[in-house]
Amino acid sequence: MSVERLTLGRVTHIVGERLQGRVSNRHLALLGVSFVGFFLILPIIFLIPESLNLGSSTPFESYRRAMDGIYIDAFVRSFIFGLATTAVTLALAYLLAYYLTFAAKRVRIAMTLIIVPLWIAYIIRYFGILLFLSPAGPFASFTGIGPGLLFTSPAVIIGLANVYLPFAVLPLYNSLNTINKELIDASRVLGANKWWTIVKVIFPLSLPGLVAAGLIVFILAAGSFLGPAVLGGPRQSMIANVIANAFLENFNIQFASALAIIYTVLLVGFLIAFNTVFDLQEVLEDI
């Protein structure tokens, strides 16, 4: 009598047969959607009553306080640092992705080198930059720019751009790599030199990747906490630092919640505005 061995393939087969016809793609999507719903959307919604503190006599006190100058500064700074980081990161990532797509002989090794830093904890990378930029560090001895850079806005933006670079390179590489190489040939034969070809053909066709990379980096950078905490001074405090401060040091959950809600609303509003102004649908159509 032969007993069929229960291998992984066999188990998969049995489970698959049981599920056949009972599970649709919608069911599968439900897993992800409910995870996000339970652990992201719901907690944010719970922050709303928390921030209002409806039971008290001054329910909007936290929101009124959030309109103080220092907090508005933190919001504005988050957006400015976010935009600056996005600009720097996209420029660097575009050059890298362009090189990887059109010139690199060993794309896999280069890709690995770009992705490996993601395995290292952010805090270690920020401290690495901190040491590099510190008055006794290599940057100072190379350039002679003494202690000037550390704990300034450029230091924060350098750090953020450094950390978020891989997130921009991947979508950009992907969109550059899917451009039909015959389009580039066609442009050259039609009389355009290399530069015109980049401006008229390659760049417009890489816009979807550029937009995707830009959104990812902006959202990550504007909400970053560790970068400004390690590399910036008090004047580089971004909104995440202010919220963390309210929450962890002052235990003012009500105020921290209010700041978080305001930030979320601003961010979503910013994305909607971006979408309306640039009409993403229009930009991405046909590409």
């Binding site: 015959e182 389009l183 040939d185 066609a186 050259r188 034969v189 039609l190 009389g191 030199n193």
Partner: protein, 347 residues
């Protein structure tokens, strides 16, 4: 007009094209014909300046252009993928080459309209390429390549993605346009029907070497190598040794002989002979002529305007013969086939 001299291209150790030379006269339609991997596309790309030759020279209008970048060669090219810019309208696609060639704004507008009319698509200027059918895209691609009056038009398998009916329509259309404006054209294809139906001259390529250069008629009627005979057109093959009996003959099945045309190789030579299907006649009874062989009908395929019969001969060879649309034979019938000695190709 265009001269390719000793063009050689290596990719690493792999030789794609080996010492290829040919020339195209003003206004000629020349086809590079060969199976995939024969180097035809590499040659076309080298002429466009998109592939750097390992050795050899390319001359356009007498000038050595070997070291010129593609944008300085004044070449028009239609690609297999059409290579229309997806983010531009049809009009912008055609204007692109004109702009890059320094035409004025007014000239560009006029020429874009002319080009659209030339390819019978005047009302499609504002469409994006993605909204057009495959055939329409190829037309636009051609309009774009011709708009700035290039010295030579290069066509890289432009009909390959199209369905059969459209292919035939596009063939005659393409040839008509080419004759109308008289542009010197180099066409690359693996499709012998493309080559035979459109070209003034065909260059048959194999493993990066030119097997034969000549008119479509000479390529088809007098192939110079077994490769050309087998690659271009269908045929029935016999092999054997030339033997001198009365006149010249090839041994066939020990008992029968095939009469060869005048000028056949001397006795003792091993040869392969080819007979084209349209040169083979089929009848139920022998009529007593030379080169007559009995066989059995294996298969009849109706090709629409004619039928193609596969007939198995006594020695196991399968012969192909074309007959009228409704042959008087059925599968399994014993028939007799014959062909004129003058129609036999000896290689």
């Amino acid at each position: 007009m265009l001269e390719v001299e000793g063009f050689t291209k290596y990719y690493g150790d792999l030789c794609a094209v080996d010492d290829l030379s040919f020339r195209i006269e003003e206004g000629e339609f020349v086809t590079l014909l060969g199976p995939s991997g024969c180097g035809k596309s590499t040659t076309l790309h080298a002429i466009a300046g998109l592939v750097e030759p390992t050795e050899g020279r390319i001359r356009l209008r007498g000038d050595n252009v070997t070291d010129l970048p593609p944008e300085k060669r004044n070449i028009g090219m239609a690609f297999q993928s059409t290579a229309l810019f997806p983010h531009m309208t049809v009009r912008e696609n055609i204007a692109y080459g004109l702009k890059m060639h320094g035409y004025s704004k007014a000239d560009i507008e006029d020429r874009v309209e002319e080009s659209l009319t030339l390819v019978d698509m005047p009302e499609h200027g504002e469409h994006k390429p993605g909204e057009l059918s495959g055939g329409q895209q190829q037309r636009v691609s051609l309009a774009r390549a011709l708009a700035y009056e290039p010295d030579i038009l290069l066509l890289d398998e432009p009909l390959t993605g199209l369905d059969r009916v459209l292919q035939e329509e596009m063939r005659s259309w393409l040839r008509r346009i080419q004759l109308e404006i008289g542009v010197t054209t180099l066409y690359v294809t693996h499709d012998q029907e493309d080559a035979l139906s459109m070209s003034d001259k065909v260059v048959v390529l194999r493993n990066g070497r030119a097997e034969q250069i000549g008119s479509p008629e000479s390529i088809y009627e007098s192939p110079e190598s077994p490769f050309v005979a087998e690659f271009v057109g269908k045929s029935t093959q016999f092999t054997g040794e030339v033997d001198e009996t009365d006149g010249k003959a090839v041994v066939y099945n020990d008992t029968k002989t095939i009469a060869l045309p005048d000028g056949a190789p001397s006795p003792g030579t091993d040869v392969t002979v080819y007979v084209r299907p349209e040169d083979i006649k089929v009848s139920t009874e022998p009529v007593g002529s030379t080169n007559e062989f009995p066989g059995t009908v294996l298969n009849i395929s109706n090709l629409g305007n004619r039928a193609e019969m596969a007939i198995e001969l006594a020695n196991g060879t399968t012969a192909l013969a074309h007959t009228g649309r409704f042959p008087d034979f059925g599968v399994g019938d014993d028939v007799c086939l014959r062909f004129d000695a003058n129609r036999v190709i000896v290689l």
